[in-house]
């Protein structure tokens, strides 16, 4: 808009800055993937090598010898079940918060938000003792349930926002037709709220898939999740860098795909609706 020459220069500077930002964001990811394609000898080269013959040996080794495959399946089972549970419990609650007025609503909101803030260690301690006494350590169901403590609030928050945006007139019209409250929710509002429900499910999945502390404390072998498995490679003196990075890559790829799908809603989700 101003003089052509000055914009030309500033556009080049802008492009350079943007390129630098992209590089900084992508480089660690690039380094993780390339390290996962190196043999142990190559990974321990000093200084590090940039060009080499890539090998998939680390992937074959972690998936088939070290049972990372099994822990990925555990992660999948836990994340899918807890997400399904969070959505089926959370969506009706969100509907009620968006549609009804009742005493204590403010306190209920506050309680839901607090769950987003609480450090997992606060719950991990008593949960460990309780679960140990019940003989349920190292089972999927324990993780599925405890992950609800952060998934339910996120589902409720995002879905409440979504239900609010659906006109109340639709509810009123259906009520005049004689539809029950449940039917109005099930057949009219829920289908319209699907975009919000889907986004909240994606978030719930990502958070559960990424979780480490509860998995570390509450599982040993049978229900061990992939992040906990990646950490267990860290024991010992000679760290198997290639294997650690191969496992890391396998963990990060699905999350990244989901996050990119939901990238437009990422900010809204992570601030729990405080920023649209």
């Amino acid at each position: 808009m101003s003089g052509r020459g000055s914009t030309g220069g500033s556009v080049a500077a802008q492009a350079l800055l943007l390129g630098l930002i992209i590089l900084l964001c992508v480089f660690p990811f690039y380094w993780m993937v390339t390290t996962s394609l190196k043999t142990q000898v190559l990974a321990l080269e000093s200084p590090p090598v940039w060009l080499f013959q890539p090998t998939l040996a680390n992937y074959a080794e972690v998936l088939f010898d070290d049972e990372v495959g099994r822990t990925l399946i555990n992660s999948l089972i836990v994340a899918v079940c807890t997400t399904a549970l969070a959505v089926s419990l959370g969506a009706p609650a969100a509907y009620a918060l968006a549609r009804f007025e009742f005493r204590g609503k403010r306190e209920l909101w506050f309680w839901f938000v607090t769950n987003r803030m609480v450090s997992p260690i606060v719950l991990a301690l008593p949960f460990f003792l309780i679960v140990r006494n019940l003989g349920l350590l190292d089972t999927h169901v324990v993780l599925i349930l405890i992950y609800l403590t952060f998934n339910l609030p996120i589902v409720i928050w995002i879905c409440t926002d979504q239900f609010r945006s659906i006109p109340r007139d639709l509810d009123e019209a259906a009520r005049l037709e004689g539809a029950s409250q449940w039917r109005i929710f099930r057949s009219i509002c829920l289908p319209l709220a699907m975009p919000g429900v889907a986004v909240s499910a994606i978030f719930s999945f990502i958070f559960s898939w990424n979780e480490l502390m509860f998995a570390l404390v509450l599982t040993r072998t049978d229900a061990k999740t992939a992040p906990a498995m990646a950490v267990s490679f860290m024991e010992g003196y000679d760290l198997p860098y290639g294997k650690i990075m191969a496992t890391s890559t396998l963990i990060v790829i699905p999350v990244l795909v989901f996050a990119l799908i939901a990238s437009r809603q990422l900010v809204r989700g992570l601030t729990m609706g405080a920023v649209k």
């Binding site: 802008q14 492009a15 992209i22 660690p28 990811f29 008593p126 609800l148 650690i244 990060v252 920023v275």
Partner: protein, 297 residues
């Protein structure tokens, strides 16, 4: 006449919709807290479960008079003090850059690039830190070597280890700040911004007097969310340094985890967890007061 009927039936319906979520969250999230409070009032050691006995507030007085507790808490806030201003400052600059017109494709690409740090599993960020910041095999020292710096013992030196954690936290969360600010900038009405640009050439004046009011809600949310998330921070530090060397990177969550699961003193750890919870609740109160004002109406 119909009014009271619908209201009371509405209340029942609301209870029906809410009950499953509320009951399950109470059983999973609230009942264990009660148990944590009970544990915190006892001498409860995993290696000596036969001798669990009531000791009143002894675990609390022990925590509050223990420099280790205060050091860990201080370290946590020190991390916040270093990382948050950097994240907010850099985030704002990136947001302003992305908000300028032109270079559409490159900007879309940048926005997608910004998602990568935020989405990377926290535990993996820590593992990646071990690989990239390694004294001998790390790529960071190699790159610094090209410009004549180094080699630096990032993870072996207490101060550098703390700096590495600050760096990683800034790497992971600056994009988040940038995207929140960008969302704020897009809410500034176009006419107002254009009118201001005709008045002044100073970009800073525009930020300060035109855009800042629209950035405030996001800024408040960021301040409080980043505070809460730093108090929660565990995965990245645990996988990268385990709180070491010494206790130079032992944040509050790591310290409680160590006392509860590596020193097996569940009573003391529970007391510290309850104290952490109280701090968190105070901060959350602030959060809902300031950020979710519309909820109360």
């Amino acid at each position: 006449m119909a009014e009271p009927v619908t209201r009371s039936s509405g209340r029942w319906a609301a209870a029906g919709f809410l009950a499953p979520a509320v009951v399950s969250l109470a059983v999973i999230g609230l009942a264990p807290l009660g148990f944590a409070v009970w544990t915190s009032l006892h001498d409860y050691n995993l290696t000596n479960l036969r001798n669990v006995r009531f000791i009143g507030l002894e675990n609390y007085t022990a925590s509050l008079t223990d420099p280790v507790f205060w050091d860990a808490l201080g370290r946590t806030f020190l991390l916040l003090g270093f990382a948050l201003p950097l994240q907010l400052g850099l985030g704002l600059l990136i947001a302003l850059l992305l908000h300028r017109p032109g270079l559409g494709f490159l900007k879309t690409l940048t926005r997608l690039g910004l998602v990568i740090p935020m989405a990377t599993t926290y535990a993996v960020v820590g593992l990646l830190g071990q690989v990239m910041f390694n004294l001998k095999y790390g790529v960071v020292n190699q790159l610094l070597g090209f410009v004549g710096i180094g080699p630096i013992d990032w993870l072996g030196n207490p101060d550098m280890a703390f700096a590495t954690i600050v760096f990683w936290d800034v790497w992971q969360w600056t994009p988040f700040c940038a995207l929140v600010f960008l969302a704020g900038l897009t809410t500034v009405p176009g006419e107002i911004e254009e009118a201001a640009r005709l008045e002044t050439k100073s970009g800073w004046t525009i930020v300060r007097y035109v855009q800042l009011p629209y950035l405030l809600p996001g800024l408040t949310a960021l301040l409080i969310l980043r505070t809460a998330d730093t108090l929660k921070l565990f995965d990245m530090v645990f996988t990268m340094t385990r709180g070491g060397p010494g206790s130079s990177t032992e944040l509050i969550s790591l310290m409680i985890q160590r006392i509860g699961f590596r020193a097996f003193d569940q009573g003391l750890a529970s007391a510290q967890a309850v104290l952490l919870l109280i701090i968190t609740i105070v901060l959350s109160r602030l959060y809902i007061r300031i950020v979710y004002r519309e909820v109360s109406t």
